[in-house]
Symmetry: C2
Subunit: 469 residues, 2 copies
């Protein structure tokens, strides 16, 4: 009998699982039936690309779709769009799905993959009486969001084609920064309001560098303000964003408040959830007998300390999906954990600022009582005498014994991707002296003779050895 | 009594040793007298920057000097310029030096650092009867070479200020490519002649990609030709470069044939040399009792297989110098070996091509009989839908058990520095599956969701597991 695999969710995690399962089964001479149900109409799309679609770098939603439904089907996946999984019975091995016509069906499964993703955190003030968005307010998460934003910033969705003039971004994380960039590039007067410093995934001193860059690029950045409501116009559209003490006039308001795991289906079936509300797979991505989970609906394990964390990124979704697919098909794969590596940029208003980070912040790394020593090094992205040399600041965090805890980078063109060097070293539990000694590349257009990441590690190693630099 | 350290050579290795020795001694409460003798007038200069000085990116030799003589002296180094070390007596613990006035002096030492560097490989045909360069012909190594080249390409050194029209570069390595770039950017009709494929530090298929890029950028690239002589004009200046079957007209000829260790002083003192003619320090950079060596005069140990190699690069010179300085001052440091990580670029004639490489080539890795499996992946430097996405080809070499042997990258802007990710992983003896699983950064302007280096490793891991991609 052919074994049936049901995958819930057709984005990165789900489709990676589906294809890897088929691939591994084929290699083992096994036949799997793989059914994927997807609530929306699109598959495998790049949510991260939406700000660039808004900015005009990308000309249509189609370009953000890595693989279309037809391409998935051609590879052997039974893909059912506009189909929601509404109930899960683990004992009966069935998932109840509701198709586009509204009728429900019970799908039996031998193995199940939960790849239900995440939903944007949405404060009550952003929603109208009917449960939909207040007109002019929206998250930046789905392709529908993207389409609405493109229509808004180009004036296509406003009466008379009037383009909005003032934008407020609520939230200072990746999506907040990238959306602010898009608004500035579209010529909007842009304010970003955030509860703490910009980029709370950086230490505050490094976040301040990002804020300064964004300010120089034309964004009004307001920190330490909690948005608690909106002022509306008579027609119900947004007029301003309100915090305790201020009001920020806005024709449009983008929400970049992060996401939370979409785990209703799993919770309804009694699967345990963690402190962040996510599923808790083991390193084979297994959550129960014959049940696997991957992507933004899962918490992950932080590689160096083994703590549970919630890092909803496409990189992990793809890898976890592959691991789940491999294992359910009889292979043996393990997810190696997350460091929290991420990059972003703000390129607008004559500013080109790149950000990279990996590992916990100082606050996170000391929360459990551990000690952290840290140092910021200022250097250049290329040899100082080259015209392309731009400033780069590298902050290195280490334990007193020299073990690397994290690295944070803020700088000009060519800065961000250097974080991968640190991440690769940290993957193998490197110390600052290890990184300082590594054979990294050098040529004048690319780096000083010691790469900035290496300079920072060398200086911290010297300091730990009690040697003045 | 104050211990005296004599350092021979005031470039990267020698000055790193001198300063680290002072720093470590100070931390230990010891006092050292550090004397550095240098044959020429300049210290700590960037030879790698000379092609960019030639191209016009850098406006003077001063900019290529990382630290001036005065700066070194202010840090406590007794620096003696225009002073050659002409003899070394290990038993007597003396080095005989000849100063600017021509007189000699015997300097006693307690510890000695040999940092005598390398000299450009110079075929007999490049030299005139008086032992100097044939006019129009020159290497690209010293600041004097740089000054001569800048004068030549700007026409300042020719009668009537006539600028040369046709340039030939002999040699297809880093200096050859970068010098060809400088000539094209200066408007010269440029031919590059090389014995093998361009970039013999890459596998030939990857070297061919570099050649194609250079050709598209306006360089006539002639491979598999050995230059064996020159045609001269009546005034003795170069008219053409000759190989067995061809002649390549040239007003100027740049030599990029690599360098060889300058070890006359050490050999005269009976210190052993290796197969490449270099000194053979241990991993503390010690070559004899109280005698240390660092930089281009040394062979190095390849980290993964432990073979002796000769990789004369500033990155290693700096690190080895530091290690020597640390150890001679009573510290304890070890040089971790080399992988052979290097980057370069060819940016001219509308082409922007970047190259990165680490580890042995297939030819080198199989020379001892070992087996290598390899795979080339073509991807993009950013998400495919982004305007900045450029092609990138990544070749991964591994042993049949998956251990990484080397990585080679040829691609557009943003390609080269990705080699550091591979180098960092290889530093810790990673396998292709390790690298495929690592937490590397992603955002649309910087990378596809799987970094190209990671895609290549993942595919090779799949192939080794006998799974179609």
């Amino acid at each position: 009998m052919v074994e049936r695999v049901v995958v819930v969710g057709a984005d990165a995690a789900g489709m990676s699982a589906a294809h890897q399962a088929l691939r591994v089964a084929r290699a083992h001479g096994r036949v799997l039936e793989v059914v994927v149900v997807e609530r929306y109409t699109h598959t495998s799309y790049s949510a991260c690309g939406i700000p660039y679609w808004m900015a005009g770098d990308v000309d249509s939603a189609d370009r953000l779709v890595a693989r279309t439904a037809d391409q998935h089907r051609a590879l052997g996946v039974d893909l059912r769009l506009l189909t929601s999984a509404v109930a899960l019975e683990l004992d009966a091995r069935t998932v109840t799905v509701q198709g586009p016509g509204g009728g429900t069906e019970q799908l039996g499964f031998d193995q199940l993959v939960l790849a239900t993703g995440a939903r944007p955190r949405t404060p009550a003030w952003a929603l109208a009486g009917d449960g939909g968005w207040v007109p002019g307010v929206r998250a930046v998460k789905t392709l529908d969001d993207g389409a609405a934003w493109v229509a808004a910033v180009t004036g296509r969705s406003a009466p008379g084609g009037r383009r909005p003039e003032r934008a407020v971004v609520v939230g200072g994380g990746y999506i907040g920064i990238e959306t602010a960039e898009a608004f500035v590039r579209r010529g909007l007067e842009t304010t970003l309001v955030t509860r703490r410093e910009v980029m709370s995934t950086l230490d505050p001193d490094m976040g301040a560098r990002v804020r300064q860059g964004m300010t120089a690029g034309g964004v009004r950045v307001v920190c330490s303000e909690e948005v608690d409501g909106l002022d509306l116009r008579r027609d119900g559209t947004v007029a301003a964003v309100r915090s305790a003490g201020d009001a920020f006039p806005a024709d449009v308001v983008a929400l970049g408040l992060g996401v939370e795991p979409a785990t209703g289906l799993a919770a309804g079936a009694g699967l345990p959830l963690g402190a962040f509300g996510g599923l808790l797979p083991d390193d084979r991505q297994r959550v129960a007998d014959g049940v696997w989970a991957a992507g933004d609906c899962c918490e992950s394990v932080e590689r160096l300390q083994g703590l549970r964390v919630y890092v909803p990124l496409g990189t992990h979704a793809n890898k976890q999906g592959r691991v789940a697919g491999e294992n359910l098909a009889g292979g043996e794969a393990r997810f190696g954990g997350v460091l929290g590596t991420a990059v972003t940029q703000f390129v607008a208003g004559g500013v080109h600022l790149e950000v990279g980070r990996t590992g916990p912040t100082t606050e996170q790394a000391t929360a459990g009582g551990g000690e952290v020593v840290a140092l910021v090094t200022e250097s250049t992205t290329a040899s100082g005498y080259m015209p392309q040399a731009a400033p780069i600041a590298v902050k290195v965090l280490a334990r007193p014994d020299g073990r690397l805890v994290g690295v944070q980078i803020v700088g000009g063109p060519g800065s961000a991707k250097r974080i991968d060097t640190a991440a690769a070293a940290m993957w193998f539990h490197a110390g600052v002296a290890d990184l300082a000694g590594m054979d990294l590349s050098y040529a004048p257009p690319f780096s000083p003779v010691w790469d900035p990441v290496q300079i920072a590690c060398r200086r911290l190693a010297d300091r730990l050895a009690d040697r003045p630099g």
